[in-house]
């Protein structure tokens, strides 16, 4: 692995995005617009906005980075650029690291904007520091990047890869505690929710919502999300083959 090649890859991915300002715009402003929408949905119930809003700040980065990465890496696979890169002195870790870095930068921008709007304009009432929200959002984005990279190996077309979103992301949203507390679910589902990483992202956001400092539970949640991201990134690396049939 080489820092120069990882950075070059990250810069290349960001340059590609820069030629696509609409994607950047959508990426940055859709979460903000959805938060504003949610704010008025809970017009009469600001407490619900606080808890659901905080959870959404944890869910957005994962969903968007999942979509962006899965399609970007699918394009690398189908356009021949991946085959070419892997015939060159590029370590798989350089490629994955470059993607993670580029999308991490994007995720920080996205999460910073969404969090700032939520806290300052929509009066999202959190006890803890907004910085802690950002940290979780970043790790979440990495998890989304990792999942996207991984599933792109199992899709042969953009049509297929988009279908992985309801398959991989929706169940996590349903089971993460956004709609019902995880403890009140049918026990099998509760068990399932305990092994899905998004549950911990949302738990972490909830910790920040209710506690002024960073709690032990917060760090546990952080560690689970980061660990899951690393695990899936490693699985994703295994799907990059220098030799293919």
């Amino acid at each position: 692995m080489s820092a120069a090649r990882t950075l070059a890859t990250a810069r290349r991915v960001l340059r590609q995005l820069r030629h696509d300002p609409r994607t950047i715009g959508l990426l940055l402003f859709i979460p903000v617009l959805l938060l504003v929408l949610l704010y008025y949905v809970f017009d009469a119930d600001r407490r619900s906005f606080d808890s659901i809003g905080a959870s959404l700040l944890g869910i957005f980065p994962m969903v968007t980075m999942f979509l962006v990465t899965s399609i970007a890496t699918l394009r690398e696979r189908t356009s021949g650029t991946l085959e070419r890169l892997l015939s060159m002195p590029l370590a798989k870790a350089d490629l994955i690291g470059g993607y993670a870095l580029a999308f991490g930068v994007l995720a920080v921008a996205q999460a910073a904007l969404a969090t700032a709007v939520a806290v300052w304009f929509l009066d999202l009432d959190i006890a803890g520091s907004p910085w802690l929200l950002l940290v979780i959002a970043l790790l979440d984005a990495l998890l989304g990047t990792a999942l996207g990279l991984f599933v792109s190996a199992f899709a042969a077309s953009e049509f297929q890869v988009v279908q992985f979103m309801p398959a991989v992301i929706f169940p996590q949203i349903l089971l993460c505690g956004l709609f019902a507390p995880r403890g009140s679910m049918q026990p099998v589902l509760e068990g399932l929710s305990n092994v899905l990483p998004m549950s911990y992202a949302v738990d972490g956001m909830t910790e920040v919502l209710h506690h002024t400092g960073a709690t032990g539970d917060f760090f546990r949640d952080l560690a689970v999300v980061a660990g899951s991201a690393l695990l899936v990134l490693t699985l994703g690396a295994a799907t990059l083959r220098r030799r293919t049939a």
């Binding site: 070059a8 590609q16 021949g80 650029t81 060159m88 590029l90 030799r243």
Partner: protein, 303 residues
């Protein structure tokens, strides 16, 4: 004994009009009679004469995909510093052979050494340039940005990159379109960006999969001149094509059909051996004399 390509008799015909070439600022075109000894001295695998180690050395090279044998026991050598054409109809296994040489093909058995290493070995990744059949460039980057990124991947130091990129763009005559998005270029221009990527690290072996398909005749001629200039610098080129009339632009030929090697040798030798006037006729004659299974495909069976 197997067909070999290791003789150093070079084809006399570099193609018409050696003076109208892209990138005329470097290397006078196509004087190929004395092989250029300008290769990096540190590399023992890089030679110029027939006694030098072959750039590609294949023995009983076989590739199986699913239940199909795509390449069946191919044996050949590619002499360093030559332009070797890999000719055959589409579906004959050319791309698979090229991917095997580059090291991206799975399930390769037999011997396949490239520049003295097993094909695909890590030291080869910066010494072998590879151009895929479809241009493998990022359509949402400019030509220059594409080259800049690949140059970084090849390990060219940051300060040397602009010069290396400019040189590659000049070689493929794309300096006018350097800052156009690759996606906005014509098909032929895009495949030249793809070719320029392969020229970046001044590779010792260039492997090109159908680089001239779909290009207009002028451009095709210019590219062949470029290939010969590269060979004159000491680069070995292995170029696939399904267009038989490109055969005479190569010094050596590997004729493949249905995953087997029909014959290897210079265009003249192939014509002489088969008593035909064109390589296309030679190909047909070889197909007709080829015996199924046991007998050698060339029909001449050197023992």
């Amino acid at each position: 004994m197997i067909p070999r390509v290791t003789n150093n008799s070079r084809a006399p015909d570099p193609g018409p009009d050696p003076d109208s070439t892209p990138g005329t600022d470097r290397d006078a075109a196509a004087d190929r009679t004395p092989p250029t000894p300008a290769a990096p001295p540190a590399d023992p695998t890089r030679g110029t004469a027939s006694d030098a180690a072959p750039a590609v050395h294949a023995r009983a090279l076989t590739v199986v995909r699913g239940r199909r044998t795509v390449l069946d026991a191919l044996s050949f050598d590619v002499a360093p510093g030559t332009v070797t054409g890999l000719l055959g109809p589409s579906g004959s296994g050319k791309s698979t052979l090229i991917r095997a040489v580059v090291g991206t093909q799975a399930k390769v058995t037999g011997t396949l050494d490239v520049l003295g290493h097993p094909a695909g070995a890590p030291p080869l990744r910066s010494r072998v340039g590879y151009v895929t059949q479809d241009p493998s460039v990022y359509t949402d980057l400019t030509a220059r940005q594409n080259l800049d990124y690949y140059a970084a991947v090849l390990g060219i130091p940051r300060r040397d990159r602009p010069a290396a990129v400019d040189r590659a763009l000049t070689d493929v005559d794309l300096t006018d379109h350097a800052d156009d998005l690759a996606g906005n270029l014509s098909g032929g221009q895009r495949s030249r960006v793809s070719l320029a990527v392969a020229l970046l690290g001044t590779p010792e072996l260039l492997v090109l999969d159908e680089p001239t398909v779909g290009l207009d005749p002028v451009l095709r001629r210019d590219l062949w001149h470029l290939f010969h200039r590269l060979a004159a610098r000491g680069t070995t080129l292995l170029i696939s094509s399904h267009v038989m009339d490109e055969a005479d632009r190569c010094e050596q030929l590997l004729l493949v059909r249905e995953g087997t090697l029909l014959a290897a040798g210079s265009p003249d030798a192939l014509r002489a051996r088969t008593g035909t006037r064109t390589v296309e006729d030679a190909f047909l004659a070889l197909v007709e004399t080829a015996r199924p299974a046991s007998a050698p495909h060339t029909g001449e069976a050197p023992a």
